[in-house]
C-alpha cells in the first residue's frame, strides 16, 4: 500500500503535446515574448528620462542659437510620422501572413516595413542636416543637446529594428523561418510597434505642443 501511495504521489503528470509547435512553459506564456515585454517596460523608463530632460531644458532661459520655433518643419515631420505609422501596419500584416503560412506575402510585408523604417531614418538624417545648416548643433544650446540625444536614440532604436527585420527577411529567404516560427516575428513586431508608440509621444511632446 505504502509503495503504491508513494508511486501515486511521485507520479509525473503526462506531458501535453506542444501547442502550435511550441513547448509549454511554467508561466503559460512564451518566454521570448515575456522577455520582450519586460525589456519594453524598462525602455519606457529609458525614453521617459530623455523626454523629461528635453522638457526640462527646452525653454531654459539664456540659451543662444536657434529655438524649436526657428527650426521645426511640422509638415515634413508629419510625413515621416505617417510613414512610421504605416510601417506598423505592414508589420502586423507580415505577422498575419506568416501565421497563415503565406511566406511570399510575409516577405513582401516585412521588407516593406524595413523600407518604411529606412525612409523614416532618411527623413531624420535630412532633418538633422537642415537643423545643422540653420546653426543648431548638439553643442549649440541645451535645446539642441536634449533634442538630438532624444531623437537620435529613437533613431538608433529604429535602425536596430530595421537590421532585425532585414535579418528575418534573409532567414525566411533561406528557409530558416517558416510558419512554425511566427513567435520570432511577433517578438520583433512588439519591438517595432514600441518604437512607433515612442514616436507618437515624441511627435506630440517635442514637435506639436506649443512652446
Amino acid at each position: 500500500m505504502a509503495i503504491e501511495q508513494a508511486a501515486r504521489d511521485t507520479a509525473v503528470e503526462p506531458v501535453e503535446a506542444p501547442v502550435n509547435g511550441h513547448d509549454d512553459t511554467h508561466t503559460g506564456v512564451i518566454n521570448p515574448k515575456l522577455a520582450m515585454w519586460l525589456f519594453l517596460s524598462s525602455d519606457c523608463l529609458f525614453f521617459g528620462a530623455f523626454i523629461a530632460t528635453f522638457l526640462l531644458y527646452r525653454d531654459r532661459p539664456g540659451q543662444h542659437g536657434p529655438t524649436p520655433a526657428d527650426v521645426f518643419d511640422i509638415p515634413f515631420t508629419s510625413v515621416t510620422s505617417f510613414i512610421l505609422l504605416m510601417s506598423s501596419l505592414t508589420m502586423v500584416l507580415a505577422l498575419a501572413a506568416i501565421q497563415r503560412g503565406e511566406m511570399r506575402r510575409f516577405r513582401i510585408w516585412i521588407m516593406a516595413t524595413a523600407l518604411f523604417g529606412a525612409t523614416f531614418i532618411g527623413g531624420q538624417i535630412f532633418e538633422f542636416t537642415q537643423f545643422t545648416r540653420e546653426g543648431l548643433n548638439i553643442d549649440t544650446n541645451l535645446f539642441g543637446s536634449s533634442f538630438y540625444v532624444l531623437t537620435g536614440l529613437h533613431g538608433a532604436h529604429v535602425t536596430a529594428g530595421i537590421i532585425w527585420l532585414i535579418s528575418l527577411w534573409g532567414l525566411s529567404m533561406q528557409g530558416r523561418i517558416g510558419p512554425g516560427q511566427s513567435e520570432a516575428i511577433e517578438v520583433a513586431g512588439l519591438y517595432w510597434h514600441f518604437v512607433d508608440v515612442v514616436w507618437i509621444v515624441i511627435f506630440t511632446v517635442v514637435y506639436l505642443i506649443p512652446k
Binding site: 515575456l34 515585454w37 522638457l55 526640462l56 502586423v92 501565421q99 512607433d196 508608440v197 509621444v201
Partner: protein, 149 residues
Amino acid sequence: MTDSEPEAETAEDGEPAHEGRVATAEADVERAIERAEEHLPAEMRTPAPGLLPGELRPHPTPIQYVIVAVVLVVITAIEIATSYSEGTIPDAVIVVLLLGMAFVKFFLVAAWYMHLRTDAPVFRRFFILGAAAAILLYLIVLTTLHALS
C-alpha cells in the same frame, strides 16, 4: 465584435480623464470594423489560425489592422490641425487635446497591433507598470524642478 472584457480592464487601468475618450475611440473602431466586414470575402474576416501559449483570443484580422491604421492616420491629421490652431484656441486646451489624442493613438497601437487586448493579462500588466512608473517618476521630477509651470 466579441466580448469586450479585456478593453474594459485596460481602460480601468488608464488615467480616469482618458477613460471616456478611449472607450469612445474603441467603440468607433469596433463599429467601423463591423460595417466593413459585412462586405468582405470570408478569408479577409478570418483571423490567423491557432493560438500560441499566452494568447487568449485570436489576433485581429488583416482588415481590422487596416481600419485601425486609418483611425490612427485620421487622429494624426486632427493632431496636426490642432497644433496649427495656436492663437485661436488657448494653449492649455491645445496641450490637453494633443496629449489626449496621443494617448488614444498609443492605446490603439498597444491594444490592437501589440495584441494586448487578446493576449494574457500578464503582458499588459508589465507594460502598464513600466509606462505608469515612467510617467509618475518623471512627472515628479519635472514638477520638483518647476519645468511644467
